[in-house]
């Protein structure tokens, strides 16, 4: 299995996300050939006008959804870390939905089986990332996110130091 920090997932920068839902449309169009947010693998949350963020699967290490499935319908790809769903085994019971802390798994309204972000395996790259007009979405490892956070923190420190001089 790949190491956790090498796994790339779709992450939204809340400073950049404006809540426009284009990622939802891009996803449902790619996956279902329809514009319909309830069929999107990424969902936008607007807590208030200032707090906007798109949320999708984070490819957890030891994913709770996989552990929760009583029918072994969910497995994690060793190659990419993506959660794979065997639709033949899934009966839509929803244990995985409840287990996911991020609300990243959803029940398909028509097929009645669950679905989750597969990083647009067929397209070669996540289409939500490609379409996001704010460049708020990135396909990134948690290690790189940590790097960015560190750099940001240090920059802020130095700015403050400069300002107090």
């Amino acid at each position: 299995m790949v190491k956790i920090h090498e796994r790339k997932f779709v992450s939204a920068d809340p400073d950049k996300c404006v809540g426009c839902q284009i990622c939802e449309y891009a996803c449902s169009w790619t996956k279902e050939k329809a514009f319909n947010p309830i069929k999107s693998r990424i969902r936008v949350v607007r807590v208030n006008q200032l707090a906007n963020m798109a949320v999708t699967c984070r490819l957890c290490e030891e994913p709770a959804c996989v552990a929760a499935c009583p029918r072994d319908a969910l497995t994690q790809s060793e190659e990419t870390g993506a959660i794979m769903i065997d639709a033949d085994k899934c009966n839509g019971c929803g244990w995985c939905i409840e287990a996911c802390d991020y609300g990243a798994i959803m029940l398909h309204p028509e097929n009645k089986t669950v679905y989750v972000c597969d990083l647009c395996k067929e397209q070669g790259e996540p289409q939500c990332v490609k379409w996001c007009p704010e460049e708020a979405l990135t396909l990134v490892t948690s290690d790189v996110l940590a790097q960015k956070a560190r750099i940001g923190a240090v920059k802020k420190l130095f700015q403050e130091a400069k300002a107090t001089k």
């Binding site: 404006v18 809540g19 426009c20 839902q21 284009i22 449309y25 891009a26 169009w29 279902e32 050939k33 329809a34 514009f35 319909n36 947010p37 309830i38 069929k39 607007r46 208030n48 006008q49 200032l50 906007n52 309204p109 379409w131 007009p133 704010e134």
Partner: protein
């Protein structure tokens, strides 16, 4: 006929009964959607001469053919149409956000609300299931609180809600209908129409797929417009936003100040878009499907109104700021929050407040009317007090919340002259004394004083014409823009995106075709734009309007601009207005009374409405 849901929902609020009517392709093509389709459906379903606040005034809610698709800005709009309690002619207002997309996914092009509920209710549209639910516990709540409460009680946080506040419940004629906390179908007082029906809110959840007729070409066009939206056509909205206008208009002396006593505000640099962005803007957000984002969210960082959060645009900033002589942005932001809280059109509310201050300075209202406050121009306390009183309909607010026209009549003693409105609708942030193309556009607008029916100010402000001159040719300029603006509000696309339609009608016709599959040329679309403006005019004629209603506010015609500077002494004379009106009517193919000719109606395929102009002739 993709794009359209193909269904019109009728809701009888007296009985709770609903029925579905099919949307004909003829209506779709002729009236498009949004305000165009809404006005046609309103006309078909409402008797002439109804009291706007009576159960007989139907309230129509529409989406557009593009609503629910991924097309940038076009996917998210909705419109309300009814007879306006302010103008007593046709009222319409458009709002964006996510509500319109949800309505389309629920499967409706239009919802027509008939009658009046016995008790306060809200309408819950859950795809095919339509119910009226008790709203007693929601009464008095703000639109924002109402939205939260409905989501909570129905147990679904993706429900979209459009609702009225206390002002709408109390039939304030300047009440609006707000969705998603900050987006308002603001103008012409339609919140009062909703209130008169005992309808507190409309909640909707839609789960249908939306698929365009020509998917591949459609997605190519979306891609192309995403690129265009990153370019210069939308730059203003993505950066300073519409408040950029403050300094632009002030430099041109075309910013009505202190209830039109001036055209220039000496404290403009304190309430500029630049200061707003530097000190108050916390985040710029976007509506569903938008690829540009424009919504400037502001937060007051310090002082008495610390923590106040709202959306801010030029028009509302102008009305609550310079128009009341107020040079403090924190006050303006607090005022905006109050307008959203009570559910009042912040443009009209600001103009009414400016009017009230003018009345005070002229001795027509006294300190007693303002709880002992000095209500002169520039008083923050007075502004906020007036807004509170109007929202609650208390004291002087009971009269003021009727809008400036009726308030002016009730106060009397010359207050009528201080009421700056057209057809009863309060003015907006363009000084018409020195913007004569805009003056024509405002005078003929079917919903009363408004910049959004034509955008004719652009010719004046950008210096494409001599803005102080009334001359032939302006009629056609206004007419052509009106047709485009009517289409924008019928599609419904966002006006801020209009610059991305490089080929204007040709691009719009292409979009219409790719989504609906209905053949549409730029010429046909132009005719639809003309038809939509014509139906607005026809409704007003049916409701008793004539040439005399195509006029300008008293001060625009009687009080020359006093400020030293480029436009000192400017005003619009009756002769100039007559020249402009004659030119406009002629360009439209209407007679000198502003009534469309039978030939014109035939040419537009509006034979079925000839009766309205025939009746006018007989009268």
């Amino acid at each position: 006929m993709l794009g359209y849901a193909g269904r019109v929902l009728h809701v009888n609020l007296d009985t709770g009964k609903t029925r579905i009517e099919r949307l004909s392709e003829d209506y779709a093509k002729k009236y498009i959607g949004g305000i165009g389709l809404g006005m046609r459906l309103w006309l078909d379903n409402t008797q002439a001469g109804v009291d706007p606040l009576s159960p007989e005034n139907t309230l129509v809610l529409t989406t557009g053919p593009i609503s629910g698709t991924m097309f940038p800005t076009a996917g998210n709009g909705h419109a309300f149409v009814a007879k306006s309690p302010e103008t007593f002619g046709i009222g319409e207002a458009v709002a964006h956000g996510t509500f319109g997309a949800e309505m389309k996914r629920a499967g409706y092009d239009a919802v027509i609300l008939h009658g009046k509920s016995e008790k306060p209710v809200y309408l819950w549209i859950d795809d095919d299931s339509v119910q009226l639910l008790d709203a007693a516990h929601l009464m008095g709540k703000s639109p924002s609180e109402t939205e939260e409460a409905i989501k909570e009680e129905l147990g679904d946080y993706y429900i979209r809600v459009a609702s009225i506040g206390l002002a709408g419940e109390k039939l304030s004629r300047i009440a609006c209908i707000i969705n998603e906390k900050t987006r308002a179908a603001g103008r012409t007082g339609l919140g009062a129409v909703m209130g008169s029906k005992n309808l507190k809110a409309i909640a909707v959840r839609g789960t249908r797929d939306i698929v365009p007729a020509k998917p591949d070409e459609f997605m190519d066009m979306v891609k192309e417009f995403h690129e265009r939206m990153k370019g210069p056509a939308t730059q203003k909205y993505r950066t300073l936003g519409t408040p950029e206008n403050v300094l632009v208009h002030n430099a041109l002396h075309c910013m009505p100040t202190r209830n039109y006593n001036n055209a220039h505000f000496e404290e403009a640099d304190k309430v500029s878009g630049e200061v707003l962005n530097e000190k108050f803007v916390a985040k710029i957000i976007g509506c569903s499907s938008c690829a540009m984002r424009c919504e400037h969210e502001v937060v007051v960082p310090e002082g008495p109104y610390k923590g106040t959060m709202t959306r801010m645009e030029y028009e509302t900033l102008w009305a609550l700021g310079p128009y009341c002589g107020i040079g403090r942005l924190d006050t303006v932001i607090k005022g905006m929050e109050l307008c959203n809280y009570y559910g009042m059109d912040a443009i009209s509310a600001g103009v009414v407040a400016g009017f009230a201050m003018d009345c005070y300075e002229n001795g027509l209202l006294s300190r007693q009317d303002f709880d002992g406050l000095e209500a002169q121009f520039g008083s923050s306390e007075a502004l906020l007090l007036i807004l509170e009183k109007m929202g609650k309909r208390e004291g002087i607010g009971d009269i003021l919340t009727e809008g400036v026209r009726i308030a002016g009549q009730k106060i009397g003693k010359g207050a009528e002259k201080l009421a700056q409105h057209i057809k009863g609708l309060e003015v907006t942030g363009y000084d018409l004394r020195c913007l004569k193309t805009a003056a024509l556009g405002f005078a003929v607008s079917f919903r009363g004083a408004d910049h959004n029916r034509h955008g004719a100010y652009a010719f004046d402000v950008k210096g494409k014409v001599d803005r102080l001159k009334a001359e032939k040719g302006r009629g056609k300029m206004v007419r052509d823009l009106e047709d485009v603006y009517a289409l924008i509000d019928s599609f419904i696309v966002c006006k801020f995106s209009r610059g991305t339609y490089y080929k204007e009608l040709e691009d719009m016709a292409k979009l219409y075709n790719l989504v609906t599959g209905i053949e549409m040329s730029a010429e046909e679309l132009k005719r639809s734009g003309e038809r939509i403006n014509t139906i607005g005019r026809l409704i007003n004629i049916r409701e008793g309007f004539s040439r005399k209603d195509d006029t300008l506010p008293w001060k625009v015609m009687n009080m020359p601009i006093p400020d030293e500077g480029p436009v000192k002494g400017a005003f619009v004379s009756q002769e100039e207005l007559d020249l402009l009106l004659d030119d406009y009517y002629e360009s439209r193919g209407w007679n000198v009374e502003g009534v469309p000719t039978v030939e014109k109606l035939n040419a537009l395929g509006m034979e079925d409405l000839i009766g309205i102009v025939e009746a006018k002739k007989e009268a």
